[in-house]
Symmetry: C2
Subunit: 331 residues, 2 copies
């Protein structure tokens, strides 16, 4: 039995290209005791994966050349020689970009299609939702009536973070890169929106919208957009570093205005995190997110691309603003 | 009765000059009921005062032109019409740069010369020691065997922060700008020292000294020294922004490498603070500091300049590395 996988063919220099990936057909061995055979249904593409394509020390080890890319996947159990799984079970976990996968089941969780669409387990009920929840709540600590700014607000994490901030009673301003995206943000309840591609002076726009200053900044993008927000932070502001998508493809260390004087004079906090830091508290996060989804207090958007072969292109699309909400590939 | 005061004559552009200050003789009114007449003994000059000379929003309002500079002062009560103070009492508090001062006593604290030299109340038993204590302990949260780097380590706050880190069981590396200063740091117990003025590659020096990364960075200086430290931070590092003396005299927003990608990939925290944030916990800090001073576990160094008229020059000297430990003017 053979299957198709996608390996890292070369480490991208700057923006990744489809030629940095290679499709390979591999043989799958017969199913051993304790193993399960999975068929991939939904594959998550996420900005953080760009970092793993570089050969540098980071929170997770780099992808290996000529080995399959790995990410969050929703898959169906086709065959099982494990006592923990039966044929037809749906699972999610960290798996290779491969059409059929043999797994020992470690780290996989069974999921329930009755609660939410299966793809949601890669998004709002997965790492995406948890990143929004823990970043905002644990680092941002938003209080009612505080002003929260979200960059990359129409992205997978941003749109959830903004809505959770609204649920905390905050005034929420979203920054995104098209009128279609800012329109969506208004529809899900953001108080104010900024299209950074058409506004002449984003720093001034934020100053005008936030005369009392920005209390919490949920940053997904970095770069000049962040410079504009940081220039408007309030005393005791909290800046959550969730992503820096504008910088992921930089081949040199980018320069910008030094932040420390602003953080110092405002007694402000800036903190990076990865969702894995909160692993012991995932049940708390999932419980809140599931409840909000059931109550329709959280609206979730997906951009679904069809076809396993589209995985590299969908991933690259993340850096071109090609997605609204969570980008997912349905096999 | 007349006395001499020092007013802000003009807002400095870049490095302050003695011509930004002006000496004035003023008349003191007769002592009213509830007031005390003070004679200044010791005057504190501190880097943070540079920020108050600019007309910008910060944690404390700017100094006013043609009004006396204000700072921490130790003074003796010459005459009292207040029930709370008697002639001969020694007090400390926030007072104008003036030889004789009339005060209503609000915010002044009586101090005890039997516990420590009077000047210590402007340093290790004053805002300086409290800044080192709360910055390190509350933001840095050092754990035994962690690696702590202190910049401006021979400065008033730095030398205390480094010693407190040693008392927490950390390995402590101090960065300073002369061999005399690094020698002093060794004498007070720093494990390793770097003279940034003579070392060819500070980033590499830190990498060599800290193969496991830097866990806590107590930053008093900012700029390129901080770039070198931040390039070596560990996962879950804490960066305490206590001062940015290398940038205080900048007339434009200085540029530097963007920090967010590093903070993000290391799940690191950077936080600015002023000692006033911890006002409700001052007794806790003073208690620890006093105890350590009594037990001679904390060594404190001062650079004492003599003569009230030397206040402007002593203040300017802070930015030229003219002090080791706390810079104080004795009237």
């Amino acid at each position: 039995m053979t299957t198709k996988q996608i390996v890292l063919a070369s480490r991208p220099q700057g923006m990744p290209a489809v030629t940095d990936f290679r499709f390979e057909n591999i043989d799958l061995p017969g199913l051993q005791e304790g193993r399960i055979l999975l068929h991939g249904l939904f594959y998550s593409v996420d900005p953080y994966m760009r970092g793993r394509m570089n050969d540098v020390k980071s929170y997770s080890p780099p992808f290996q050349l000529d080995k399959p890319i790995q990410g969050s996947v929703v898959a169906k159990v086709l065959d099982s020689k494990s006592a923990d799984f039966k044929q037809g079970d749906i699972v999610t976990g960290f798996l290779p970009w491969q059409e059929q996968i043999i797994s020992d089941g470690k780290g996989l969780q069974k999921i329930d299609a009755a609660i939410a669409p299966l793809s949601y387990y890669l998004g709002i009920l997965g790492m995406t939702g948890l990143a929004a929840y823990f970043g905002l709540m644990d680092i941002g600590k938003p209080k009612p009536n505080e002003v929260v700014v979200v960059s990359g607000a129409a992205g997978a994490v941003g749109i959830v973070a903004g809505q959770i901030a609204k649920l905390q009673g905050c005034r929420v301003i979203g920054i995104a890169g098209s009128d279609e995206k800012t329109q969506l943000l208004k529809e899900v309840g953001f108080d104010e929106v900024i299209n950074y591609k058409t506004i002449p002076d984003i720093k001034k726009a934020i100053a005008d919208m936030c005369p009392g200053g920005v209390d919490v900044y949920f940053d997904n993008v970095g770069g000049e957009i962040s410079d504009a927000v940081v220039a408007n932070i309030n005393f005791h502001a909290r800046i959550i570093l969730c992503g820096q998508i504008s910088l992921y493809n930089s081949t040199v260390i980018p320069m910008g205005p030094r932040l420390q004087p602003m953080l110092l004079t405002r007694s402000a906090l800036m903190q990076g995190f990865i969702v894995g830091n909160y692993q012991s508290r995932f049940p708390e996060g999932i419980q809140h997110l599931t409840q909000w989804v059931k109550e329709k207090k959280l609206v979730f958007n997906e951009t679904i691309v069809h076809g396993f072969d589209q995985l590299p292109a969908a991933f690259i699309g993340l850096f071109r603003g090609g997605n609204t909400g969570k980008m997912i590939v349905e096999a």
